[in-house]
């Protein structure tokens, strides 16, 4: 066999090489971002601080301003890592939703999960619930998201089967109801409405290592599950009947992936508010570069999503004169960019 195809060892080594390159790039972006901000810290100092924290070797800190280690490890790194992990999580969720709903334009919020999280958070903010301290609002957001997921699944299942069409429709209905609910809560909030609004717009400010740990656990487990079913998801794009005839238990896979992607989304939204476009654009874009095979798409989306959301957060934190809420920034940049690539790809295509 002389012709190289997508499955020959050299091609998968090429993909592995690309993935490694992206991972290295992510690492570099993390280090550089940690050095940016009101206090400028050089990349080497950042690395020395990190290594000294891990190894406990305080000699590495000689010559570095005493406040820097605190800034790096307690203020910046948790925020930066959370942004990267959330970027990765939303991208995986986006890729999975696009695959399950057979729609390259789906995103993690298509099924109303974000509306559910927003509703939960709004209730917590409105009623000033603080019995769990700073985790009260995220917890309510998470509960709201999960409750919405089950409501949508319940609405859309007939005889234990939930097709992509019924899921989308149910998601739209539930999201609309929750949206109205959120508007009502904003109205009731009266002067407190700004707290709700700012939460909804998304932010990575004052994230802690607990946030990093929480999101990392959910996103890692979610990633593993999604990779496990990646090939099944590829085949499900042929439609349920064909996929079934090829041995895929479409309903089981769909439910498992739906729950996994929704939980990833729920955690991300509860930690950082509603950040749009990332889950839509990253997988959509990466599909142009690495193809629709989910075994390649998901890892690529993870890394590029992490890099891009991290950059966006660094821009708003350290580059812009005033910090714009991250959800607004991703929409402002992502929106026009998406229009551009959408137009560019449409020209020259003959199909619908």
């Amino acid at each position: 066999m002389t012709k190289k195809d997508g499955f020959a060892p050299s091609a998968s080594m090429r993909v592995g090489g690309q993935t490694l390159l992206l991972a290295v790039f992510l690492f570099i972006v993390v280090i550089l971002s940690t050095g940016m901000g009101y206090l400028k810290i050089s990349p080497f100092e950042v690395i020395r601080i990190i290594v000294s924290k891990i190894t406990g070797n305080h000699e590495l800190l000689n010559g570095i301003d005493t406040v820097f280690p605190y800034v790096v490890s307690e203020v910046r790194l948790p925020r930066i890592l959370t942004a990267a992990i959330v970027g990765a999580g939303l991208s995986i969720a986006g890729a999975i939703f696009q695959g399950i709903l057979l729609n390259p334009l789906a995103d993690p919020y298509t099924l109303g999960i974000s509306a559910g999280a927003a509703f939960g958070a709004s209730i917590a903010l409105l009623l000033d619930i603080t019995f769990l301290g700073i985790y009260s609002v995220p917890l309510f957001a998470f509960i709201g998201a999960v409750a919405t997921l089950f409501a949508v699944m319940f609405l859309s299942s007939f005889n234990g089967q939930a097709s992509s069409h019924t899921l989308i429709l149910s998601g739209i209905i539930v999201a609309a109801i929750l949206s109205a609910g959120i508007s009502f809560l904003k109205y009731v909030a009266d002067e407190q409405v700004s707290i709700i609004i700012f939460w909804l717009m998304g932010s990575f400010g004052s994230k802690t290592w607990a946030d990093v740990f929480l999101t990392l656990v959910f996103v890692s487990i979610g990633f593993s599950i999604c990779i496990f079913f990646a090939r099944d998801l590829n085949i499900m794009s042929l439609g349920d009947r064909s996929a079934g005839s090829l041995g895929i238990e479409t309903n089981k896979v769909r439910v498992i992936l739906l729950i996994t992607a929704s939980l990833i989304t729920a955690v991300c939204v509860s930690v950082s508010g509603i950040i749009g476009f990332v889950g839509l654009i990253i997988p959509h874009l990466m599909r142009f570069f690495v193809g629709p095979d989910n075994r390649r798409l998901i890892p690529a989306s993870v890394l590029v999503g992490a890099i891009l959301l991290l950059c966006a957060d660094t821009i708003t934190r350290a580059v812009l004169p005033r910090e714009i809420p991250i959800g607004v920034l991703t929409a402002l940049i992502g929106g026009p960019f998406f229009c551009y690539i959408f137009r560019k790809r449409r020209i020259g295509r003959t199909d619908g």
């Binding site: 390259p104 794009s237 042929l238 090829l246």
Partner: protein, 265 residues
């Protein structure tokens, strides 16, 4: 010749709500024969085929595959036995033609393994036989309806199963490719003893290719058996409500059905 019984279907009933799509249907499918199922829209052809691939389960009655109840087979096991060419499909993601055909090998490739050289060889051979080799790197989303249908056919043939089920898989194709594919399928029956069950709209195609014909109407089998016995004007009138003349044609080496203008009953 003593043939193996592939499917034994007894008294199956299937309803969509109040509509009895299959009404105590019973029949037997033997190995190595090309079966055609014909009948008007709504007669239950597609539902019946769905039950054979375990896409749906009958409300009552039994289906046995190779002597065992079909419920005992997992979908994955059944995928190595039965392949389906569906009627319609749309694919929203830009997989290449080769990737789609390779999906047909899925039941034979372990979960985290790559396709073997044998898998790739089978895919290449089928794409060449079906003359879709020249667009193997094109995106499926860029193909015409007929070309897509050929790719889907190739996918099912790549699955290389003892049983092949066609649900009207040729409706969008040029006659050139329709005959090309049915020839490949018929070769599989003749040389590999494959069992083919095809739901067909075109009676004359069915006549030219099938060994056995099953007439269905309103969820029941009206008549079934060797095509020479069963394809007659009375059955066509009963099932399709049209007058016809049926005669043996030398060129196609089979019975052919002809219609006349103004002769619908």
């Amino acid at each position: 010749m003593d043939r193996k019984t592939v499917f034994k279907v007894r008294d199956i009933v299937f309803c969509y709500g109040k509509n009895r799509a299959l009404d105590n249907l019973s029949l037997t499918i033997e190995q190595g024969k090309f079966y055609g199922i014909v009948g008007p829209n709504g007669c239950g052809k597609t539902t019946f085929l769905d039950l054979l691939i375990q896409n749906k389960a009958p409300e009552s009655g039994t289906i046995k595959y190779l002597g065992r109840d079909i419920k005992e087979y997992t979908r994955r096991k059944l995928a190595k036995e039965i392949a389906l060419v569906p009627q319609d499909f749309y694919i929203n993601f830009p997989f290449s033609v080769k990737e789609i055909v390779l999906m047909g090998r899925h039941p034979h490739i372990p979960r985290f393994a790559s396709p073997s050289t044998e898998d790739l060889k089978i895919v290449d051979e089928i794409m060449e036989k079906m003359e879709i080799n020249r667009f193997k790197d094109k995106y499926i989303t860029e193909l015409s309806g007929g070309e897509k249908q050929r790719v889907v056919f190739a996918r099912a043939l790549a699955q290389d199963t003892p049983v092949l089920i066609l649900d009207e898989g040729t409706s969008n194709m040029d006659i050139q490719y329709t005959l090309n594919i049915l020839d490949i399928v018929a070769d599989g029956v003749r040389l590999k003893k494959r069992t083919v069950i095809a739901a067909l709209h075109n009676l004359n195609l069915a006549a030219a290719y099938c060994d056995e014909l099953i007439f269905m109407k309103s969820g029941r089998m009206v008549s079934g058996g060797n095509i020479d016995d069963v394809l007659n004007e009375q059955n066509v009138k009963d099932v399709f409500k049209v007058e016809s003349r049926i005669y043996f044609d030398r060129y196609s080496n089979s019975k052919q059905v002809v219609f006349k203008r103004g002769a619908s009953v």
